[in-house]
Amino acid sequence: MNEQVPQPTPLDLEPEPSSFKLIFTLGLVGLLSGLILAGAYLYTLPIIEANKAAALQRAVYEVLPGCAEFQTLELRDGRLLPPPETEGSGEQSDPAPRIFAGFTADGQLIGFAIQAQQAGFQDQIVGIFGYRPEQQLIVGFEVLESKETPGLGDKIMKDPAFIANFSALAVEPLPKLVKKGEKAQPHQVEAITGATISSRAVVRLLENGLDQWREPIRNYLSTQNAKDE
């Protein structure tokens, strides 16, 4: 009888708690966790929303130099209209795509801030650019969201030389990417050395935005002019 009986672990010695106790404990932990989360969510939600709105608002002023105030316009049935009043704070089930019309202090329309996206090197790049339909010019560009490689692709938001491309970029013909130092035409964009994919994504992003919004903007302007006359 010198056989060693395996030593029972303390867990085996204790009586197995009833399933009810296990479920009750987990339910209680879940309930507590839910309460804490609901509290934190309710408390931070308005601040987070305000942050996002502020970031977007700042970006609109940034990409439309000279803009003093802006109006949100929604695209519905191919026409640009102010968003419906009844919307309130309730969430829309299917929010219509929207752009921002910028005005000078004395109410002159100077251009539109257009949000667009395009797949970059890692993930979707979301950007906003200022477009002046009268001159067919892009007058500013800013990245709102991107996960481009730090140090290389993220130069699309940090490299002043690249950003300068968009201070007066012709859109007729459509913007085209060229190598650094080869910009000769007003519609050409100089790429970032070592970040060609990210640079090209930005140019495509501009194209996407123009594709979607040029026609509605033209219609909008012609109806505005008809109204004025």
Partner: protein, 212 residues
């Protein structure tokens, strides 16, 4: 006569995480955030503090309820508690520091699976009274912050030539971009571990030499 022993035990549990049992440099735990978000000093500091917060509050709760939670469901309960505080941190960062929140991205949510936190609950907080658990969590958390900051500062200085976005070198400095890319994380961590092991080896040799 109990008091001094208690205090020294608490101090001991607090101090061990800072250096002797440092979660990163000695235990090599929680490598995902250590490598992924230490490309700047500010990011690594934010990640370290977020982890510290989660660790302290989880340890407090786990230690408080250590006699109530049945052993069979303890891991599930720990994870729910940890995930709760991680989500709170996520909301708080998005509200208070949206820029940092944007930089850290998914790594905030990934604090849930940082084995440092679950490890401390299982190994310490679930077996010790609240005071000791708090000391242990604070020490380990601060040790984690310290380690992350070392990596973040080194990588930012070498990779961008700045510290907290202040330029340190003149115009002539060419940043080693590789240091802020993923391989730089491995290089920096490797060299730091090498350095710390060398330090400890030397100390051990000195101790044995003085004993002879």
């Amino acid at each position: 006569m109990n008091k001094p022993i208690e205090t020294s035990r608490t101090a001991e549990e607090f101090l061990k995480g800072l250096w002797r049992e440092n979660p990163v440099f000695v235990a090599v735990l929680g490598m995902c955030p250590v490598l992924a978000v230490t490309n700047t000093a500010i990011n690594s500091l934010a990640m370290g503090l977020a982890t510290l917060f989660v660790l302290i509050f989880s340890s407090l709760l786990v230690s408080t309820f250590r006699n109530v939670i049945p052993k069979q469901v303890r891991i599930t309960a720990f994870i729910i508690i940890i995930a709760t505080f991680v989500t709170v941190v996520d909301f708080a960062l998005a509200a208070l520091a949206p820029d940092i929140h944007k930089e850290l991205g998914a790594f905030i949510a990934l604090i849930v699976v940082n084995c440092l936190i679950l490890g401390r609950q299982e190994a310490f907080a679930s077996k010790n009274p609240i005071g000791l658990a708090l000391a242990d969590a604070t020490g380990m958390g601060l040790g984690f912050v310290f380690a992350l900051f070392c990596l973040g500062a080194l990588r930012e200085i070498l990779g961008s030539g700045t510290l907290f976005n202040f330029p340190l070198f003149g115009e002539g400095f060419e940043p080693w971009v590789i240091m802020i890319l993923p391989p730089g994380g491995f290089f920096t961590l490797g060299f730091l571990l090498l350095f710390i092991n060398w330090l400890q080896n030397r100390r051990q040799k000195q101790q044995t030499a003085s004993m002879n």
